[in-house]
Amino acid sequence: MHLKYESVIREPLVDGNKSYHQVTEDICATIENKPTKLWTIGFLISASLLAFGMFSVTWEVYWGTGVWHLNKTIGWGWDITNFVWWVGIGHAGTLISAILLLFRQGWRTGVNRAAEAMTIFAVMCAGQFPIWHMGRVWDAFFVLPYGNTRGPLWPNFISPLLWDVFAISTYFTVSLLFWYSGLIPDFATLRDRAKTKFRKAAYGVVSFGWAGSAKHWQRHEMLSLVLAGLSTPLVLSVHTIVSFDFATSIVPGWHTTIFPPYFVAGAVFSGFAMVQTLLVITRKVLNLQEYITIGHIEAMNKVIVLTGSIVGVAYLTELFIAYFSGVLWEQEAFRLRVLGPYWWAYWAMMTCNVVSPQLFWFKKLRRNVWFTFFMSIIVNIGMWFERFVIIMALHRDYLPSSWSYYTPSWTEVGFYLGSFGLFFTCYFLFAKYFPVIAIAEIKFILKTSGENYKNKMTEYEEQTNEHFLEEQTHHH
């Protein structure tokens, strides 16, 4: 006899009285119903932000990067701040789908689809910044190692900026493949339920003709497992390489070996915060509270308090090492961070990233939806300031005559707003036309972790160990 058993002490991952069919009904409902007013309004706002962003970028390309308020010392400004911020956000999805898969964390199934989608959109947003920063963007393909008539002259393969090109594009591709391979069976579900001709044809194409054969599922499981194994070091490598952009330079405040682990922790921290922001709203609007439960939210808040604390320790270590190194320039760089012209950014970062997430040590607050939503915004503001603080470290270089104070121009702000437009436009389309929760994966854990199935586990709970073992070893 086939039995899936999990202790009743563990919180159910799917609430309510669910059957396999009910799971399908619940998750497909949004896709099959007409878009709501709220969705239409949200979508239009996002699309107009995107349009404004496109205008700002067009302006920048037409007049050149001179329209940005970059100066002699601040060469990266808001642009690269936003790049690093978005890449960081794009870390939670693959962490949830890959690392938590390897660690067999059942709760990932409720949130992985949306988190992965968010990852892909965030990486898309991130990619915009370095590309448009090139100014002569029509020459952007110069970063690729292709045969050319200039020698051939190749890109510098030992430059961290080129590593970034490879890391971000690989990360985007692999995340997309991972996400899409999981979507294929769910698209097949939508296809077979479709009532209208167009929907049937469209989901027929995107489902690749999936029928659910046992052998295909076996390969699908293998594919997911190996992709998870590949993505796990990939997630860690991407932000490590982003941190190399800074760490391999010989700039006081940047040239530190702590950067890779501290960037990765920060990335997971901000990524989970963004997942919370989106899912707290998504579960409410799409009525998915039974699949994205308070338990899921609490689990993610635990990750936030852990990574937030790691980031906090990293900030303090940086300060200590600057003091302990005895290097004048290093000490001055950190004195300026804390007390210099950009002191407000440093303290905003400290408050949002280190102090406020500590409130998540209280179980009551971890399980409070509104508090979680509020905190998720705070964390993302904090993480934005972290990147801003690092990039602004250059405002005083070795030549006092070039010292300056940088503020962004409207095109830089517009570009940043535009990236929100891109992100949310994609997310709104995703939430309407894609299964927001991995249908097949929820069904897979339903009998172990569904509330109504867990309630039936008492008879096994009461068995003696010997009896239980005896019964289980003679499975099918």
């Binding site: 399908t24 190996v226 069904k443």
Partner: protein, 193 residues
């Protein structure tokens, strides 16, 4: 194209499916395929399927990526266009690691997904026969290939395995290019007959 006749049994739970598979195989029937809405663990073993070798393919693709990256960068830096970057060596292995790693992962992932699609014969525009409209929802469908003589007897046998529904279908056993919103010729013929 190979249009064949199939005896189909529909089960509503994997707990019913497992004993049924055992019984069907025990009685000497050859199972054409079993369709499930999600990955049912242990079903491949129950069906006597071999373990997938997809991971071996993945390893080979990965190694290809490693060699491509190291070989290409090494060739460029030492042979094709040697340059002096701040007096660093022409084959700086540690500095090659990031790109080598990324290409390893990229080759392995892309290669595996393409192999996965090839082995399963799936791609956009491919159509396969769906034996039960809810086999991707909550039904577990077991299919046995039959001929004129064995159809009746097989269906009767399937009824004894706990199936909630059994039937005989004429269907294309393979895939073909088609649209899911269109009915196929054989489906229409079947209805007329």
């Amino acid at each position: 194209m190979s249009i064949k006749k199939f005896a189909v049994a529909v089960y509503d739970d994997e707990a019913v499916l497992f004993p049924a598979v055992k019984k069907v195989r025990g009685a000497g029937y050859k199972i054409h395929d079993v369709y499930t809405p999600f990955a049912v663990h242990g079903l491949d073993v129950a069906l006597g399927e071999k373990e997938s070798d997809l991971h071996i393919a993945g390893f080979i693709y990965g190694i290809t990526g490693t060699c491509t990256a190291l070989g290409f960068m090494g060739w460029i830096f030492t042979t094709d266009w040697p340059q002096n970057f701040g007096g660093k060596p022409h084959f700086p292995l540690p500095a090659f690691i990031p790109i080598t790693f990324e290409l390893t992962v990229l080759f392995a992932a892309v290669g595996m997904v393409l192999t996965f699609c090839y082995l399963n014969q799936i791609m956009p525009g491919v159509k396969k026969h769906i034996f039960h409209p809810r086999q991707t929802d909550d039904k577990f469908v077991l299919v046995i290939e039959v001929n004129e003589n064995t159809a009746k007897e097989t269906e009767t046998f399937l009824k004894t395995t706990g199936a909630e529904e059994t039937n005989i279908q004429v269907a294309e056993a393979d895939w073909w290019f088609g649209r899911f919103d269109k009915r196929e010729d054989y489906e229409i013929q079947e209805q007329l007959a």
